[in-house]
């Protein structure tokens, strides 16, 4: 079980070789890729920034939770930092288990928890030249802050 934060390109074909033995009946993987549109805005590229020691520590806790909750055999997650372009792999998760139910549930759990808890941040660069740190707006829809929209 390993949660790793890296500035290097993620190579799933290489990573998946290290996973699994003949107890494994199911392997579910998740790839998060940089897509060209987010909430209706045209995205050109992304920067990911991490607080690496705590990101890896918190990530490892999530993998351990997944192992205990779902009884999976192994769980690996690799998350990129740095500047990514469209189509690049931002995060890769692989879960092995005897049966598929546990592998699916654990994989979903790991990505949901990682997005909510791991100290990694994403800055989007848009086609109109503007940028935004995702989730960090202090005005506008969905934000309870001091803005006029409430």
């Amino acid at each position: 079980m390993e949660f790793r934060v890296t500035g290097q390109k993620i190579d799933p074909a290489q990573l998946i070789l290290a996973i699994g033995d003949t107890r494994v009946g199911a392997c579910v993987t998740f790839e998060g890729r940089v897509r060209r549109q987010n909430e209706g805005r045209s995205v050109l590229s992304l920067d990911y920034e991490a607080f690496k020691p705590l990101a890896e520590k918190e990530g490892q806790r999530i993998l351990e939770e997944a192992r205990q909750k779902f009884g999976v055999l192994d769980a690996v997650c690799v998350h990129r930092t740095g500047s990514l372009k469209l189509g690049d792999l931002a995060v890769w998760i692989a879960i092995t288990a005897e049966h598929r139910g546990a592998a699916f549930d654990a994989c979903r759990y790991v990505i949901d928890e990682a997005k909510a808890r791991v100290p990694i941040w994403k800055k989007e660069h848009y086609g109109d030249g503007s940028t935004e740190w995702i989730n960090c707006a202090t005005r506008g829809p969905g934000v309870s802050g001091p803005g006029p929209a409430g």
């Binding site: 607080f51 705590l54 802050g145």
Partner: protein, 81 residues
């Protein structure tokens, strides 16, 4: 008592501060006091309610005491994946 702590900023806080890590002399008693002090000084847009604090590489509640020599990190809302 005067203390000195190492403060790290990430993402939007790093940009608003204009640097990633600095030594800060402070009289703040809790992490919350320290954030409010720095927010007033640097004009951070995020209220403490939307920021988390880590001390010596682990999450802590805002009420944690600030000790001389601590490594303190202020973490905006995360957005991995």
């Amino acid at each position: 008592m005067n203390k000195s702590v190492s403060v790290s900023y990430y993402a939007i806080l790093r940009e608003q501060r204009g640097l990633g890590t600095e030594e800060v002399p402070t009289m703040a008693v809790t992490a919350s006091d320290l954030y409010e002090e720095l927010r007033a000084r640097h004009g951070f847009t995020l209220p403490a309610s939307r920021v988390r604090v880590a001390v010596n590489d682990d999450f802590q509640p805002w009420g944690v005491a600030v000790e001389d020599g601590d490594r303190i990190a202020f973490l905006p809302p995360v957005a991995g994946g």
